[in-house]
């Protein structure tokens, strides 16, 4: 990325704003889509397209911020305290995993997204088991890891395309 310091700063700020909005819309769309499997906490993970784009195009700190704002605002608008707690537990674990895997540069976006999806489900179900005081919930884990893997792979592939295009545009304009 070229351009002056000031224009880069503005670019980052605008990108974060736009992608936060996008992530929130994705969260809403996701909450409307009904997945035919009756598994608690099952999700497509569409907002992760925006989060991965921030992570790859803007930066780590910004990705954490955008994700945190996204979760807080969507819980406030469409969710409740329960959904907030569960998504937060999932998001912290998933963000950490994705940041570490991106840093060590071992996987492509797809691998990073798969690990993120799996860890999101993992964190969420463990939080649910704790809050609800029921270890039986953990038996849903294998199915959730499989769905997290499949959706994570698809989301990762889409996010790679989005991130690449956004980066190209940025290089053209800055």
């Amino acid at each position: 990325m070229k351009g002056t310091k000031e224009s880069q700063r503005i670019y980052k700020m605008v990108m974060c704003g736009v992608l936060t909005a996008l992530a929130m819309i994705f969260s809403y769309i996701e909450s409307v889509i009904r997945i035919p499997l009756p598994i608690p906490g099952i999700k497509l993970g569409v907002p992760n397209i925006a989060i991965i784009t921030v992570l790859y195009v803007v930066g780590t700190k910004e990705a954490i911020t955008v994700n945190f704002i996204r979760i807080s605002l969507t819980a406030l608008l469409f969710g409740n305290i329960n959904s907030f707690l569960f998504s937060m537990a999932g998001a912290i674990l998933s963000m950490l995993t994705m940041i570490i895997l991106k840093k060590i540069n071992f996987f492509s976006t797809v691998g990073v997204s798969v690990a993120g999806g799996v860890m999101h489900n993992f964190g969420q179900i463990i939080a649910a088991a704790f809050i609800m005081g029921s270890s039986a919930i953990l038996y849903y884990l294998p199915v959730l890891i499989i769905t997290g893997t499949v959706t994570g792979a698809i989301i990762g592939a889409v996010a790679a395309l989005v991130a690449e295009r956004v980066k190209r545009q940025a290089e053209k304009n800055l």
Binding site: N82, I131, S134, A136, I137, Y139, L141, I146, T149
Partner: protein, 126 residues
Amino acid sequence: MENKKIKRDAVLVLLCIIISAAVYFIINIYVKKDGAYAVVKVDGEIIRSLELNKNTSVIVHGYQGGSNIIVVDNGQVYMTDADCPDKLCERTGRISRTGESIVCLPHRVVVEIQGNTAERIDSVVQ
């Protein structure tokens, strides 16, 4: 480099699926047995224990309002008429084996099937 990464991605995906599928089948074959009781928990606390061989239906009030109706019918348990938004608990269907559960996240209600353990029943029937 990119090709190498894609290969690693594929390995990760396959490993996740194979390991989870294996765990899933192990749970189904070795852990799940015919249950004797359905334990109802709200926000982590056991509030009811229902015998699976007695047909009944109870209303359970969730954490911070809301209610679910739990039905025991012919050794199977299912939930009807939950006023939660996602109706996931209703869609779960009938459960009867140990380790199986019906979860209502918005109400923090869990129904889990347990085997024949005497001390657990004593602690529930107070």
